[in-house]
């Protein structure tokens, strides 16, 4: 894993979800562990799009439940 990339991802999650940095780990579930609802996730995706200069279509978000899945989505977009 690219530590620098994940640090940028983590910064977005910490800011948008108002969670502690230590809570943003790959197997953390957005709903259960980070107390994030659907609006939080929309905001996070928007923040990630801005931070990484990517576009995440709605259908790519289906089934994304964990930090790891979301991070993978971002790294895939970055190629």
């Amino acid at each position: 894993m690219d530590d620098q990339l994940f640090a940028r991802f983590k910064k977005c999650a910490v800011e948008v979800l108002s969670v502690d940095e230590s809570a943003v780990v790959l197997d953390a579930k957005f709903g259960d562990d980070l107390d994030a609802d659907s609006l939080d996730l929309v905001e996070l995706v928007m923040a990630l799009e801005e931070e990484f200069g990517i576009t995440v279509p709605e259908e790519d978000l289906d089934g994304v439940q964990t930090v790891g899945q979301a991070y993978e989505l971002v790294t895939n977009k970055l190629g």
Binding site: D37, L39, E43, M46
Partner: protein
Amino acid sequence: MSAGDVTMGGAAPTGRVVLITGGSRGIGLAIAQRFAVLGDRVAVTYLTTPPPAGLLGVRCDVTSVADVDRAFSEVEAAFGPVEIMVSNAGVTKDGLLLRMSEDDFTSVIDANLTAAYRVAKRAAGPMLRLRRGRMIFLSSVVGLLGSAGQANYAASKAGLVGLARSLARELASRSITVNVVAPGPVATDMTAALSDERQSALSAAVPLGRFATTDEVAGVVAFLASADAAYITGAVIPVDGGLGMGH
């Protein structure tokens, strides 16, 4: 003043950032002036006529998503994030159904309903981050009453109710309220251009027997943006002299 200083509610609400689309005349101008008197920082969008001094005028064609984005960005740069958004800009292209072209229909829907979606969408992000906000859509009594010769306009104004109520549900968890104001006939340059007979007939149809003043509409909009209205969302408030009773 930074965005952090902006507050909503309290005894003397001042300095809230307000954006009104179509605010250089008529109802929109009255709403803008009402907020300005309250001490808010008021921006209005206009298409051709800039607003009078004291209001930040931003040229914006609400049928253009790029224009809407640029208008918000200008207001954000000048005042900070918009916390009260009033979607007021609108057009009419009246005609009986059989004489109404598809372009007459879709262009009115675009300017009145799709524009409200564009403005609300652009406003929602910053409001989500603020964890508060007020969206107010100017509809019309004809949205629920219908109006012969105004199928396009009435459909667009009815559509605002479904739009507002859906957004009210989507955004409620962030203390963002979304409400609709539905005026009846209002004394503006637009209605002054109607014939005397037409104006008399309109007045006669209203239980209160007269047109509303633009101030009477502005007062209700200001109320919906006030601390007193914090628990009102998804409402359709008629300001129609009783014309739409039962709807």
